[in-house]
């Protein structure tokens, strides 16, 4: 999961699906050149706007755009901090194609993202539906289910996980009560990634809160009308709730997938920084860290970073394209 699990959502657009929504509409400004007063007003607003944005401009240049361009350049070089970068052309990218650990880390990451996100969102939706209407103590349940989302990104919880899923950990102690003998889950190549997927599922509370808010937007009158027509609960779910919830499902999906691609802390701590056993928890970000900050192969790490950027952009784009087929917008 992302190290920022439990994030409040940037608001999902109510109607349009585009993440890049234009700023709010304002009364159109008077034409800038016709009257001197209007022109000077516009100028003053320009200056005020840039002044208010000055810290952001500086931050963008120094910490975002500069680094993105620099890492593009570095990705074509060999660089280890001690000597100036040496131009390699496409060598880093060529090495990536032949690197078995890179292929493995991509595979692990894809498995992690495509299993853990649906599991997490499925749980979130199920619990949101259970909690939706007329449950007494809603805010209590919501808080209890939400708490793990805030904690799960911490090293403390990763440490706990490593113990729970160890050979004599809590899980095996409980299994022993039923006469089942467990293995050391974190030390088994077939199960280690599974423990991280369980950890991500544990954070279903954050998307659940978003689902709950979305469910509250559905007008009660729709259900009333359906009842007049004698619709069953199942029918109402598939013909009212689910279609009207698709924009929220989509929003959660995009958000959680991007987050899952960036998981790091849990895999790092549970595997002692190695991504083991047998590279089975070697998430892409973990491998990037090893190359960049373990062996200071900054050029290669930059090439990996750019590849990650392209993958996330492509996946998000694909999500938006596919959304046209299944996301329903009313009105």
């Amino acid at each position: 999961m992302s190290d920022r699990v439990g994030a409040p959502p940037p608001s999902p657009p109510a109607e349009g699906a585009t993440a890049v929504a234009p700023p709010p509409d304002e009364p159109p400004a008077p034409p800038r050149t016709r009257h001197r007063r209007a022109a000077s007003g516009a100028l003053r607003q320009d200056r005020a706007g840039y002044l208010f944005l000055a810290p952001w401009f500086a931050g963008m240049a120094l910490f975002t755009i500069g680094p993105i361009l620099a890492s593009l350049y570095l990705s074509f070089t060999e660089y280890s901090l001690v000597k100036p970068p040496e131009w390699l052309g496409l060598d880093n990218y060529r090495r990536m194609l032949e690197d078995p650990r890179l292929a493995k880390s991509l595979l692990v990451t894809v498995q992690y993202v495509f299993v853990s996100v649906p599991v997490q969102l499925g749980l979130a939706l199920a619990l949101a539906l259970l909690l939706n209407r007329g449950v007494r103590g809603l805010s209590f349940y919501r808080s209890v289910y939400y708490l793990p989302s805030l904690l799960a990104g911490s090293v403390s919880i990763a440490i706990l996980w490593r113990q729970i899923f160890g050979s004599d950990g809590l899980v095996n102690q409980v299994l022993a009560l039923f006469g089942v003998e467990g293995v050391s889950w974190v030390a088994h190549p077939d199960f280690a990634l599974g423990t991280l997927i369980v950890l991500n599922a544990w954070t279903f509370g954050a998307p659940m809160v978003i689902f709950l808010a979305g469910l509250r937007q559905i007008p009660v009158s729709y259900y009333e009308a359906a009842e007049v027509d004698g619709a069953s609960t199942v029918r109402k779910f598939f013909h009212i709730t689910l279609p009207l919830l698709t924009p929220i499902i989509f929003f959660n999906l995009v958000l959680q997938m991007i987050g899952a691609f960036q998981s790091f802390t849990q895999a790092f701590v549970v595997s002692g920084g190695q991504g083991g056993p047998a590279d089975s928890t070697l998430l892409y970000t973990l491998y990037l860290y090893q190359r960049g900050f373990g062996s200071f192969d900054m050029g290669y790490a930059s090439a990996m970073a750019w590849t990650l950027l392209v993958i996330i952009a492509a996946l998000t784009g694909l999500n938006f394209l596919l959304a046209k087929r299944w996301v329903f917008y009313s009105g």
Binding site: D3, G6, A7, P8, P10, S11, P12, A19, V20, P22, P23, P24, Q45, G49, Y50, F52, P55, G59, M60, L62, F63, T64, G66, P67, I68, S71, L74, Y79, L127, L130, R133, G137, Y141, S143, Y145, P148, L151, V155, S156, I157, I159, L160, G169, Q173, I210, A213, G214, V220, E227, Q262, F264, T265, V269, G272, T285, L288, G292, A305, L308, I312
Partner: protein, 281 residues
Amino acid sequence: MGRDELPSRPRRALKHTLLIAFGVVMLYPLLWMVSSSVKPDDLIFRDPSIWPTELDLSNYTNGWTALEHPFQHYLWNSAVIAIASVVGNLLSCSLAAYAFARLRFRGRNVFFALMLSTLMLPIHVLIVPQYVLFSWLDWINTDLPLIVPKFLAHDAFFIFLMVQFIRSLPRELDEAARIDGCGHFRIYWRIIMPLSAPALATSALFTFIWTWNDFFSQLIFLTNPDLYTVPVALRSFLDGQGETAWGQLFAMSIVGLVPIFGFFLAGQRYLTQGIATTGIK
């Protein structure tokens, strides 16, 4: 789901039983960690119950001093970074948010779209050149790489959250102030900021929690043990003697979670309800 089929009493009881059982399963690992932290080490590997048979606080006293520095040293390091980040985010993000929500200026839509696109940008893309930059500036092994970006509105997420909130405030207030001769800065500081208290509270809480939990950038920028924060210190504890001192490790892990839990209890309303209201209009 419909209104005419209000759950009958047994159905309602079943639902609550299910919800409570699920909650217990969710929280069991946490409760078990707390109870294990007051158990002797060998019991941690034998006793799955959350009811401690004996109360032994030695894990806390021994764990507190098990590392190079006493644990309050790491708590202090984490707190300094987290509090500075909160101040930085609140100031810089609210300035930018005011501009996006209230001012008209050339290029606004382009800048706004740019800001939104950075929401999806993984830190891993930026970390290598940022590291290079900070090592040129001689900032590695200082708190600066972790704090300065916050004062330059690097967390676009909070800009977005505040833009959404400021948009929902009535414009009549600004216009009245304008007529009274207030400049933009006064409107921002005297009118918009006080009215944005809920959004500021949500931002402050999340900034604190995320910074407190942050491991990746602290691991990279702080390699000197004197500067270790709680997550980095816990990790070095785990690497050093973790496998032989689970009780102490659990105890210090819990100490590390206490601030988050405290803010969760104090700020629940802003964390969960705030999400629902600022998240979706």
